[in-house]
């Protein structure tokens, strides 16, 4: 609304200035003419928005900050909603894997899990791209067990093994 503010400032300063002019000028014929000219200038100041409208570079987006609103709207757009939903789904799925695995095999404790889905161009989920888990236990059977649990190919699974001492240190 900077445009409206400038317009108001313009009108107010013009009127105050012309009041001073009217006060300073001596009484006489010239004062009448001067006040007439001042009135015309004041009316031009009031009509400034209309004059701007006639110009070719008049841009309504600048007056109402429409670009800002457009940015706000695009932030909450459908695509963003879909992608955030998919990342939420991935998190939930990973959490589910950790909980189920730790329940079934308490000696092989999974610490963390990261699931990434395959998506088509419309953002629809096709299948699981890869699963990455973190654990302390160095056990090769973990691949088969995970593959059985998630019902995916064992090539898609990667396991990071952390040093047990680091945990104790912490």
């Amino acid at each position: 609304m900077t445009f409206v503010r400038e317009w108001t400032y313009g009108i107010v300063t013009t009127i105050v200035l012309f009041t001073i002019v009217e006060m300073i000028l001596p009484n006489g014929n010239i004062k009448k003419n001067a006040i007439f000219v001042c009135g015309i200038i004041a009316s031009i100041t009031i009509a400034e928005p209309i004059l701007k409208l006639l110009k070719s570079d008049f841009n309504i987006e600048e007056i109402f900050n429409l670009t800002e609103y457009n940015n706000l709207i695009s932030l909450n757009s459908y695509d963003n909603a879909i992608s955030s939903q998919i990342s939420n789904l991935e998190k939930v799925y990973a959490q589910e894997i950790v909980t189920k695995f730790n329940f079934e095999y308490p000696d092989l404790k999974l610490l963390n899990c990261l699931v990434i889905f395959n998506k088509d161009e419309n953002g629809k989920i096709i299948d699981i791209d890869r699963v990455n888990v973190t654990t302390y236990v160095d056990d090769s059977t973990i691949y088969d067990k995970l593959a059985k649990l998630c019902e995916i190919d064992r090539k898609k699974i990667t396991v990071d093994i952390l040093e047990k001492e680091m945990n104790d240190f912490e």
Binding site: V4, T8, V12, I15, V16, T19, E22, M23
Partner: protein
Amino acid sequence: MKKIVIILFLILNIHISFSYAYEFNMNEFVSSLSEFENEFIDSQEYSEIINGIQQGNFAFNYRKIFNNIGKFFSKEIKNNIGILIQVIIIAILSSFLDNLKSSFSSDGVSKIAFYMCYVVVITIIISSFIQIIDLATETIIMLIAFMDVFLPVLIGLVVSTGGITTSSIIYPVIIFITNMISNFLNDFMIPIIMTAFGIGMVAHISEKIKISKISNMIKSVSMWILGVVLTVFVGIISLEGSIASTVDGITVKTAKFMFSNGVPVVGKLLGDSIDTILGSTLVLKDAVGFLGVFILLTLILMPILKIVIFLFLYGGAAALIEPFAESRLVKCMQETVGVGKVVLAMVLTVSVMFVIGIVAMLKMTNNIAMFR
């Protein structure tokens, strides 16, 4: 097979409806609203009101509210009477100086004396007008915060009376409109009102060059905009709700019919129990909705009283100084009162809109129970 599937679907539907009613926690709801208590209502009274309405003996102490209004009014008048006296003294001073015109050497001196008085009056007016504008902005923000807290609870209760379609249609519309209105008022109406006020202040400063019509035009435009926004809001809410509630009513009636006739042996019992649960959640929903409208009204009471006192003060000042003072001072005060009316209209429009939104939602969802 088809029959069983339909019955299962309806059971699921009804289950979704009722599960919220079981989980509705009165204490949690009341404590979430406790930040909106004010001098007219305590947060301890919230649960009393809800329980009173549910048992059919609503006995709120209205006398207390009226007493508080009276106290508030007199306190505010006492606080602000100094402004009125200041303005009157300056007006007397300016007309006194005007009478001394002949004893000054030139005409310009008395003019300068008048402008000094005018500037002092304008300064007083601007300082109190800025307070009014701030108050209006804060009120609107607070009303929207209240709606954000209150509406999810009300919508949950509407769902629990079987209004699944109604709530899914009305809720986004109301949330969208409340947020749009807050943006619209803060980014559009307040600057326009300030413009009208600024122009109105200098409109009568010169005897020859007058620009009072432009500020009148801005004022009437903003009044028209407020009226159109209110009309559109009421139209959208009532149209969408009346359609959706019919759909919901038919759904609930079908569910009841299926239970009564489709389920063997205990069907009649189940159908009647659906009726009972719907009726009781309806009472709870109405009680909560009433409490919401009540809190909303007490929230806007204080700002509206303050704005009304502002209007009274300057209107009274204009009336008091008119017999002796310069007409330009009187007109300046009239402009202030005119712009203050627009601010009052803005606050009233927002609150009326929200009250209508809540009440319309309550009445429409009662249609669901009417399908018997």
